[in-house]
Amino acid sequence: MPINFDKALGVFPQHLSLYGKRSTLLASNLANADTPGFKARDIDFQAALQRANGDQLHMTRTHRSHLGGRAASISDPELLYRVPMQPSLDGNTVDSQLEKAQFAENAVRYQATLTFLSGKFRGLRSAIKGE
């Protein structure tokens, strides 16, 4: 039986790319902590993962000239705006403490996913070697 790498690695590669995207978003939120009018953005991780697992709702077109509607995919997750707890007068909605906490959590999750992935690779390698 041939080894299928995509199946063997499971959902972890997709998680990894999603965590990478999210860290970019959080980094740009933090970078713009002092920019007037900047709105903090984030992705709904749970929803993005559910879409990655395939349970997503499709729009039904009842007329041929209807627009299809953009279905957010794992590689292009839907970007949401953060609801600020205490918006500042200059229109900036970045709460740098919150963003820092989210960034740290995201980094830990990324690292955890890496650990799972390297476990998968170790398993594959020992299967190939037949030890």
Binding site: G20, A31, N32, A33, F38, S96, F103, A104, L114, L117
Partner: protein, 137 residues
């Protein structure tokens, strides 16, 4: 690899905060530079930050920071009656810069904290990337 964008973003923020620190330093240094007229006296300067959207590859939502300009404060200058001062004008007044030391100190602390935060982001991303490179070894 989207983590590469973090370097651009955090780097742009660090350079913007450096500009802010520079401007603060120049304001503090010139807090006592008197002049003999409204025009020739130093005015407090402040950087204006703006988000740079979409210029970074593939991810339009991520945004770096740029300094879109430096504005001079239009607050009125303080005039002091010092006829013995060499810079005094015909009426005996010298003009003091409209630098608010307390504002500048608060600005300085805010800029250095933001800089530190961005350095942390950069370091964490670097570690994550290095760990990703070691994957499967």
């Amino acid at each position: 690899m989207s983590l590469f964008n973090v370097f651009d973003i955090a780097g742009s923020a660090m350079s913007a905060e450096t500009v802010r620190l520079n401007v603060t330093a120049s304001n503090l240094a010139n807090a006592q530079s008197v002049g003999s007229s409204e025009q020739s006296t130093y005015h407090a300067r402040h950087p204006v930050f703006a988000a740079v959207m979409g210029s970074l590859r593939d991810n339009a939502a991520s945004a770096g920071v740029a300094v879109s300009g430096i504005v001079e404060s239009q607050a009125p200058l303080e005039q002091r009656y010092q006829p013995e001062h060499p810079m005094a004008n015909e009426e005996g007044y010298v003009f003091l810069p409209n630098v608010n030391i307390v504002d500048e100190m608060a600005n300085m602390i805010s800029a250095s904290r933001s800089y530190q935060g961005n350095v942390e982001v950069l370091n964490t991303s670097k570690q994550l990337m290095l760990a990703t490179l070691k994957l499967g070894q």
